[in-house]
């Protein structure tokens, strides 16, 4: 059984903190997830919302950004939907590896790589209508653990 929490925010960066707060509070209703995992989800969702808002700004859209949380005991899925122009995550210039001499030349490009390492599943579904970013954390099953 899962429960759904939905939030729509104006496409302004001042509302990203509200999205984080709602998702963190909603995720905290699932006691099976540790604070560390919820912190990771919080940052990933924040990055997705920031990108969504930027997409709206670029597209000149007044629509709101939709954040949908699907909460279950063993899985939390957050979908961030924008109505911007859509983007290809593969075309985003990522920051170089830490060892690269020019690492400090890159002050942006950290958002999408961060999302990918923070959560267990990421999906970027782009269309002409906008982009859906899906972020999933799952609870690992440990051998011998009580259900």
């Amino acid at each position: 059984m899962s429960e759904i929490v939905e939030l729509e925010i104006p496409a302004r960066i001042e509302f990203v903190a509200l999205a984080r707060l709602v998702v963190t509070s909603a995720a905290s209703t699932q006691p099976t997830f540790t604070d560390d995992r919820i912190d990771d989800l919080r940052l990933a969702v924040s990055e997705a919302c920031t990108n969504a808002i930027e997409a709206h700004t670029v597209a000149g859209s007044d629509d709101r950004v939709l954040i949908r949380c699907d909460l279950a005991e063993d899985r939390i899925e957050v979908a961030v939907t924008d109505r911007g122009g859509g983007f290809d995550p593969e075309e985003v210039t990522a920051a170089p590896a830490a060892e690269a001499a020019d690492r400090l030349e890159f002050e942006s490009g950290l958002g999408i790589p961060l999302m990918r390492v923070l959560v267990d599943e990421t999906e970027f579904r782009a269309s002409a209508a906008g982009t859906v970013v899906r972020l999933v954390v799952v609870r690992p099953v440990r051998p011998g653990e009580d259900a």
């Binding site: 903190a17 912190d39 830490a98 942006s108």
Partner: protein, 112 residues
Amino acid sequence: MLSVVELRRDGWWVVVASGELDVASAPDLRRAVVSAVADGARQVVIDLTGVDFIDSFGLGVVIGAVKRVRAHEGRLAVVVADGPVRRAFELTGLDRVLELRAGVDEVVAGPA
């Protein structure tokens, strides 16, 4: 919300940030560092001990601050507590290229 306070200590400029350092608030930290460097700061500590959240924009401002101080042949250290902020620096590999410390005291009292 983010608050930014600037202190002077033993020749160091300490920029203390508290709260959430994200896309909306990161410009406040950038302004503080830019202003300190313009006023002659060459030994700078950014104290993020009181920051409980940092996003990619916050990390970007820290990178920009390091570059700005180094361009003036200065030194910048970043103080972070264990937890999600340190984890963000580690996940992006920035812990290996920045001077990350656990407390302001060890920076200010250490060798120049």
